[in-house]
């Protein structure tokens, strides 16, 4: 029984079909990679699953809640790290995390404790009292990662988790995501970075043109075909491998 279940999901924007018959399920203990090129429908799917927008058709369920009928309850129980940059906020990271904690009804002392833990883990202790708008993009991303986990959610939706992070922090975040899922939680990672997906995911769904075109378990898969080859086959077809490399273009 999946903690995330999607069946027959469709969503169009005007005449553009963003999601067209998506179906998959994610269980506890999984880091599920949602892999696809830009415009494949990944972000739209996450927005539907977190109750931000309504689908045109299909059934979705997250932790037994219905994001369409009760989006607030779904968002109360999950953590969300959105892809889009946050608008300029004049709160400090300490205040911002207190704000998120209060909106989520958490005990302020617990939030303060978790703020210190996350600041130390991601290395923004010295920025806790700097205005969010004056932080670098990487520092802002660290704060946004912290807010997604501040309430220990059972399911976390993450859109491009490693954007703007330095290599050291990337490694820490990757290790954390794997260990978080192993604690009987589910981590749903949307990315177009195949290396990252291969490294941290237990299972990967490949998305193209709004549909799930392939799924592969990475935990115990013994196939010879690399994830990159599978991705290229399913997204662009065999021709994709014939695309000239950058070195060739340069010459």
């Amino acid at each position: 029984m999946g903690v995330i279940r999607v069946a027959g999901l469709r969503k169009t924007y005007g005449t553009v079909s963003a999601v067209d018959g998506m179906a998959f399920a994610v269980d506890r203990g999984e880091v599920y990679g949602f892999l696809g090129p830009n415009g494949a429908g990944k972000t739209t799917t996450i927005r539907v699953l977190t109750g931000q927008i309504e689908p045109d058709a299909g059934d979705v369920s997250v932790l037994g809640t219905d994001p369409v009928a009760d989006p607030i309850e779904t968002r109360r129980r999950v953590g969300i790290l959105p892809e889009q940059e946050s608008p300029p906020s004049f709160l400090t990271p300490r205040e911002y995390l207190a704000f998120v904690g209060e909106v989520r009804g958490l005990d302020p002392d617990r939030v303060a404790e978790r703020t210190d833990t996350w600041a130390e883990r991601l290395g923004f202790e010295s920025k806790l009292d700097t205005l969010h708008t004056d932080l670098s993009r990487g520092q802002q991303q660290k704060v946004m990662i912290a807010q997604a986990f501040v309430h220990d959610p059972d399911v976390v939706f993450i859109d491009e988790p490693l954007a703007n992070l330095d290599p050291l922090v990337q490694e820490q975040v990757k290790r954390f995501l794997v260990s978080y899922a192993a604690d009987d939680n589910a981590v749903f990672v949307s990315t177009h970075n195949i290396d990252v997906a291969e490294e941290i995911c237990t299972r990967v769904g490949i998305v193209a043109d709004g549909r799930l075109v392939a799924e592969r378990s990475l935990a115990d898969d013994a196939t010879d075909e690399s994830l990159l080859d599978l991705f290229l086959d399913r997204v662009e077809g065999e021709d994709a491998r014939d695309t000239p490399a950058l070195e060739q273009l340069h010459t």
Binding site: Y13, P71, I72, R75, P88, S89, L91, A98, L131, T133
Partner: protein
């Protein structure tokens, strides 16, 4: 020997290459195309294309109404020039992507203006072209329709086309003066001059001019159509000189140092006995810590007060008719609700809130509370100043206070209902702008007429207006309450 570097970091060779690679006319053409696409994408092609027509209709209607009700033509001409300067002052900020003004209005943009960081284009040259483009673009899209108001002043003379062109040039020139002033102030700021020093300088200059009676000559210079061609030419040359000097002074490498703040969130939130306390607190702290802080709404309301007070003074001196100050200022100052709400929505977006377990209705309710907390004192101070300065009777002041509260709530509700979380979308969206204008005019125009006709207000009129203020306030509450579900449905089914 190393190549000499220009102050904006580009080498002399780079500058020459960029000049040779992209001519200024070509650069201007690209910038114009970008500007057009920005507006048509934000508002829709035909809604933006209709905007000049709406401006023309409004300007001509207002000018005709003012002339027909006895306002001196000179006052109308002066008022249009004040509007053009004001719009120029506002538009002058647009060239400085990265300043929080532009980012707050449109969000983070990837404009061509930012290309100077990745392409061999001088930041100053690009900025100069950007300002020139803005000046020409708005002179056509916004200032030209305004200049049609001159038809009402002059009537259809034998050479209406020439009259309109001259009036347009006059308005466009003072629009450029406004832009140049803002550009100069921003340029000075990039050289480390604190904002408060700039503000103090402006205040002292204005106060000094007023105290020494020198505002009259300044006014005549700022209405070029009433002065000599030489004075207008001098103003044009001066504006160009100020702009060129500002571009020379402007330091493109200026970076504001990181700011820190002590933890105030919990204290403010705990002090608010509300369910939506965290959402309200975020809005209040964002406003308080942004450039200009919580004073911004007060300054906006005070500017509105100064403009209307000047107009009332001129009308009074020419016609001998002065309105009941409480009713008049109560009705007009309520309009500051729009700017106050605008300030409160500059630092967040509805999309960002949709990652938390809150509804859009919760967010709008929190904004309404923040609006009352910020807007009430911001508008009460100018209103009290007006009723004291213009010597209102007690009844007039009391009725005006009811009107102020009710109308401010109504204008707020109207804004939220029509524009949702993006009040700036009124800019250049013909349909929304027209809806808002009609919505404002319906209660305001009869109130202003009553304020002018029955001075001081009779008991019957006072009771009627107070009741009207209450009803309009309730309508505003209903509109703002319905805005949440309305925009929730729109966002979630986009």
């Amino acid at each position: 020997m190393s190549e000499p570097k220009s102050t904006d970091g580009a080498s002399a060779t780079d500058a020459t290459r960029s000049d040779a690679g992209l001519s200024t006319p070509r650069l201007l053409a690209i910038l114009f195309r970008e500007e057009w696409r920005l507006h048509t994408q934000l508002f829709g092609g035909w809604r933006f294309a209709l905007f000049p027509l709406v401006i023309a209709l409004l300007t001509v209607s207002a000018a005709v109404a003012l002339i027909e009700t006895g306002t001196a033509p000179g006052t109308v001409v002066g008022g249009l020039h004040v509007l053009a300067v004001g719009f120029g002052l506002y538009s002058g900020t647009a060239g400085f992507a990265g300043s929080d003004m532009l980012e707050n209005v449109f969000g983070r943009l990837s404009l061509l203006l930012s290309s100077s960081t990745t392409l061999p284009l001088s930041r100053r040259r690009l900025l100069g072209a950007f300002l020139l483009k803005d000046g020409l673009f708005y002179a056509i899209v916004f200032v030209f329709p305004m200049s049609l108001g001159g038809l009402a002043v002059d009537g259809l003379s034998a050479t209406p086309l020439l009259s309109i062109i001259l009036f347009w040039l006059s308005l466009a020139l003072v629009f450029a003066v406004g832009m140049a002033t803002t550009v100069a102030l921003i340029a000075v700021r990039t050289r480390g001059v604190p904002s408060w020093v700039i503000g103090l300088g402006i205040g002292l200059a204005g106060g000094g001019g007023w105290a020494t009676g020198r505002l009259g000559p300044i006014r005549s210079v700022l209405v070029p159509i009433d002065g000599s061609p030489a004075a207008a030419g001098g103003l044009a040359v001066g504006t160009l000189a100020v702009t060129a000097s500002s571009l020379a002074v402007y330091d493109p490498t200026y970076g504001r140092p990181s700011r820190t703040a002590s933890d105030r969130f919990a204290r403010v939130s705990d002090a608010l006995p509300l369910e939506d306390a965290p959402l309200v607190t975020k809005s209040l702290l964002d406003l308080a810590r942004s450039s200009g802080g919580v004073w911004k709404p007060l300054v906006s309301a005070s500017i509105l007060l100064a403009l209307v007070a000047a107009l009332v003074g001129v009308v009074d001196s020419i016609t001998g008719v002065a309105p009941a100050p409480g009713i008049f200022f109560g009705g007009v100052l309520g309009l500051s609700a729009f700017t106050t709400y605008n300030w409160l929505t500059q630092f967040d977006s509805l999309e960002a809130y949709l990652t938390y377990p809150v509804s859009i209705a919760d967010v709008f309710r929190a904004k309404r509370i923040a609006f009352v907390l910020v807007g009430a004192p911001a508008v009460a101070v100018p209103y009290l100043a007006a009723v004291v300065w213009f010597d209102a009777t007690l009844v007039d002041a009391a009725v005006g206070a009811v009107l102020l509260a009710g109308y401010a709530l109504y204008y707020y509700g109207l804004t939220v209902y029509i524009a949702g979380f993006d009040p700036n979308e009124f800019l250049f969206d013909a349909v929304r702008f027209a809806m808002f204008t009609v919505g404002v005019a319906v209660p305001l125009v009869p109130t202003l007429v009553a304020g002018f006709v029955v001075v001081p207000p009779s008991a019957t009129l006072a009771v009627a207006l107070a009741l009207g203020g209450l009803v309009v306030g309730i309508v505003g509450l209903v509109l703002s309450s319905r805005a949440g579900p309305r925009w929730d449905a729109r966002y979630r089914t986009e």
